[in-house]
Symmetry: C2
Subunit: 754 residues, 2 copies
Amino acid sequence: MFAIAPASGKANLSASQLKLLSGKARWIFRVGEAGFPTVPTIALTRAAWDALQTERSKKDIRLRTHWIACLFKLVDRDGTPPSLVVRTSAALHNGGLAPAKLGIPAPASPEDSVDPTRPLAKAIKNAFESYGFSPGWSGRADEDRAKQIVLVQAAAPGEIEQFLTRNALTGALGPAPVNGAPLPRLPASVDALVALVDAKAGRHMCCTVAINRGEVVFLSARPSQVPAAAELEAAVDRVDRKIWTAQNAVSRVDPHRLAQLLHPRLKSSEGAAPVAVGLGVSPGAASGPIVFNPDDAARLRARGKHCILVVNETGPADIEGMRAATGILTARGGMSSHAGVIARITGKPCVAGVRTLSVDTNEMVCRIGDREFRSGDRLTIDGNDGSVYAGMLPLTQPHIGGAIGRLLNWSDASRTIAVRTNAETVESARTALSFGAEGIGLARSEHMFFSPERMVALRRVILSEDEDDRSRAVNGLVDYQTGDYQALFSTMNGAPVTVRLFDPPLHEFLPRSDEEIEETAASLGLAVRALRLHLERIAEINPMLGHRGVRLAITYPEMLQMQMQALMAGVRAASETQNEPVSVEVMVPFVSTASEVAWVRDRVNTIVANSGLSRTERVKFSFGTMIELPRACLRAGDIAHMVDFFSFGTNDLTQTTFGISRDDAPTFLAAYQRKGVYERDPFVTIDEKGVGEMISIAIERGRAANPGLKIGICGEHAGDPASLKYFAGLGVDYVSCSPYRVPVARLTLAQASA
Amino acid sequence: MFAIAPASGKANLSASQLKLLSGKARWIFRVGEAGFPTVPTIALTRAAWDALQTERSKKDIRLRTHWIACLFKLVDRDGTPPSLVVRTSAALHNGGLAPAKLGIPAPASPEDSVDPTRPLAKAIKNAFESYGFSPGWSGRADEDRAKQIVLVQAAAPGEIEQFLTRNALTGALGPAPVNGAPLPRLPASVDALVALVDAKAGRHMCCTVAINRGEVVFLSARPSQVPAAAELEAAVDRVDRKIWTAQNAVSRVDPHRLAQLLHPRLKSSEGAAPVAVGLGVSPGAASGPIVFNPDDAARLRARGKHCILVVNETGPADIEGMRAATGILTARGGMSSHAGVIARITGKPCVAGVRTLSVDTNEMVCRIGDREFRSGDRLTIDGNDGSVYAGMLPLTQPHIGGAIGRLLNWSDASRTIAVRTNAETVESARTALSFGAEGIGLARSEHMFFSPERMVALRRVILSEDEDDRSRAVNGLVDYQTGDYQALFSTMNGAPVTVRLFDPPLHEFLPRSDEEIEETAASLGLAVRALRLHLERIAEINPMLGHRGVRLAITYPEMLQMQMQALMAGVRAASETQNEPVSVEVMVPFVSTASEVAWVRDRVNTIVANSGLSRTERVKFSFGTMIELPRACLRAGDIAHMVDFFSFGTNDLTQTTFGISRDDAPTFLAAYQRKGVYERDPFVTIDEKGVGEMISIAIERGRAANPGLKIGICGEHAGDPASLKYFAGLGVDYVSCSPYRVPVARLTLAQASA
């Protein structure tokens, strides 16, 4: 124990004492050292406190003598023993900790000062014990536990006031009000305290001071969680004030927080009348099918689908489901409700307190006013103004500008790894470009068929009975594709576009419900019964590991032929209308052997050669493979000398390395995390020890066989900051993530390069 | 070209000439060298022939002079130019080759002898060209092509006769008849030829001789394919005659051929009246559901199911389907029909020529007499006597004795790797023991529930709604299991038994057809609609990668608890009734992380400790894991120090390493093999370059972390000779295969150890 802010004089702490300072204790010391008036304070470690108690049972007094001497340092020159305050000093604010205990009389005797039945020692004991109940501390090592600090302060005269160092919404330098409470009248001298704490902390801090006749005395400070936008504005402001360099700002902003700023908004609600209006408690708009429980949300999320979680109210058990949902709609609660708090922290649009909404989880139906919505029906919510609309309203994408734009530009200066996007439509390519994407790393050609009309064409291919039938059906797809490719290349205007060859896993593209089957039969001109029989015949037991990827190209070469012809026609058309050469990279999915790559490469090269485009300066052409199966990683050396690039598909590689179907994982993954079997979800953050080793084996063998090999990552992990840092360490050339994740990747990779 | 058997004197071939000898040329030389009368013969390589033709166009004569000199060596002392015979000399008999051309007049001039419009040169040219059309030769390297030999022989006077060196059915030393033709009258001097050729060839040979006034002259010999039983009897006979050592016999018998001898037979046909009788054209009995096309057979085979292929007749396109079927039944054809030949070669029971059978492939129905059978209906066929029965008649397993028994005993002397079996029923354990299994390497505990009554109990567990419900259902399983375990341990009488913890992939154990669903609903006391909803809810998209294996133990710990209690009760009961200690090995399936192993191990150890059996000398207990996922291979070091053994599940490891669902592979695997993308089916023979590296990484890391680690293989590859040789090279301690494959593994591993 030691006085970090004695009533008179300086603290003169030793190096080992300084090392113990954390949380509020650190702030009191720093502010005092900077010359700002600070309340007299002792920092008492748990180790010291335990030693005092041991000594007490042994009737020893050496440590107690020192303790009393410290207590005396709280006494001002006037010599009156002060009333005391006991506070915890955790690094993070935490709901489980004991609140400050005020008005404790100074102990009457040295014995009293350590006797847990007496007020001071009792308060200290309670404060230490509260750490044990706090999830932020439990489970840490014993060594950390011994360093836990309780503060004993002299009570300061005057009014106790709290303020933030920066505005919680705009990030402007404070003092600023806390939690919407009015800002108290503060003397001008507070400005110096605010500037001091902001510069030292580099984040929003909540300060507690005593104000006595215009004199400000510092009591404590702790970090305050604020929306990401405020954090970002503050970071840029610190650069403008020359407190930080641009690189400081880049390294200090959490990429996860940045992601929260990239919310879609309603394009326009014109003409659409809300079915209800509640409170917009978390910004952004979302649309999609509704679900009534977290499990359904998790299931849809696992399949890459959006959804709106609709509940009467949320509680701690719903957090996973809220993370999985795209947006949240509740009947009860307001700005400070569980739903609102969690939605803002996780960056999900949320409308709460819709009084006309009621959810019947038994009947799996909700009512909004006199309208009924069932699971799977579509809603749109606007978390800015609290409106709820029936159906899917068009959304518009966030704009990168202002503080975000400046931060990302600073990021690009130190980034060495390129950031591309996964996109196959002009719209998402434009979004990604506006977010700074430097190319398309994954255009899933089969996704170009997601409109109902085109889906019919695609189903016709999948359901064709023989080669002739299939050739005709494939020809029907060529027209759509040629135009799509041209538009995509034109949009990217010379930036590279990696087109993955057709890879439709059957189960994602075939009709399933009775209604869908009837519709499909009608549109294909088939009898429903015949279609059902056909569907049964081609149904796969494990479609993820079935007839897909390169296997389609090899078994149905006419599909490869047609797709390549459409692609080359698109390349030709785009190259005739733009100045930049078209940069097209053909990528073979789901290979497990070099022989598959050789087979496809020979045919692709022939088609490219026949197109006459390979010898022009208007087109840059390259050929590569996805590496997404363990065997492809092991045989990377054989494969590498046949290709220009590898692109790791980390989703499928995680599925096969772990033997886990992502679709089916929700039934056990939650239990695995709860029981500590998995530390984290390997589909969110790359599993470095398993999947990571697979990737590094492949990179090592691939580069050894082909030193010019370009290496990218195109799974969803390419949008996850922790994974991105790991990939940067593997020396990849580029990553490709969803458009909304492009800024996150730009920032994270800048941090990784620093 | 050179005379390998001149009319007078010896051949005096150089070392390089000797190296060129192959096929019949080699036999003529060998027999002649051994002093047996041989017809004068020239061996003409394609290289020599091509050179003669080139010289001819250049009007050169050096080579032609040599050629004529050789031809002169065919002339006997009487000086008359003989009539000539031209034969091919391929190493293997091959249907595409030109037949021997007899009665060619000796060329009138040197020019005539090389002129392709003249009889001798024309016959030689035709003979060489026929190699090109023969699948056995096409595609070989040019170097091999240059070594192809055509024989030019002097016509021998007398009758030309053929005979086998050994009986085609019994393997007894010959001379013996060819293809059922009566054995010609042969002089006693033939015996010496037979003994000579048998000793040198070590296999059945078909010899051609000329017999002139009791004098035998050797013309040629080629290997003859005979049933495996005859080969085996011959091998053992050669050991008895001291031509071979026992080790020679072990190394010379092809394990694939041995497998053909292990056919089941009808236990008894008493009381069963055949619905038809045809010709038994390939031995053994088979029973199972019927299919009408090779694709359906392949599909069932991929799922590990038996079936009988029923067709009007077979042709080359049906070979794959015949390999996949357990037995073959045809309406037309006899002993020498395509079906008969292929069935005998592949070792499948076959009944052919059932005149009352007709198959309607359009209607997917067959009629036998006035009875109708649809796809999936059950038949039993007896390839020994040609009987066909409706339904499934009980089969009895082949006995290891006689020649097989002697050969396998010789094998065991040089074998260093243990052979266990995959079995969970007393019956299959007994079969495996009779075949020489040294333990059970894989008892799939969930397979103990394959009877209808038990399947209800298992479905009750899978379909239970919550933990209480599940606990009750699981308790219902305990009683079955305890007795099963006791019986299994008692049968194995001290030999090790590896019990794999419960691993039911949902799709294999849930009802699928409407009929099954109705039955299941009735037996579980559920409404059909409720059951359907439940089935839909728990249906998995990729069950192979779903909620199975160790994931069940971790999410439903009560299942692990109950299974271990039943197991320990079975161990206790068995240990009380036998002298040998019970050797039980608990094995965790489908692990991908060390944390899963640790989780299960702690619980298993607690249950074993509480049983009181771990500290007795009556029980040997060990704990291990299946290694069947790529991640488990990579993390083998972490896992190894927690376990006593690894057992590689090569089926699932192949599925995940390649990203191929075995169930769904038939749709593209055939095309892959046809197009040369895969050399062989990786589910039949282990993929050394991919899956093999996974296994060797795991063995290396596992043994480094735990030098005492025991290593086994328990996938189906453990019954495949090529794979077994590879595993032996990896230094495994044991393999575990299906009971019928135990003799194959014993023989193969003996060959690998030699």
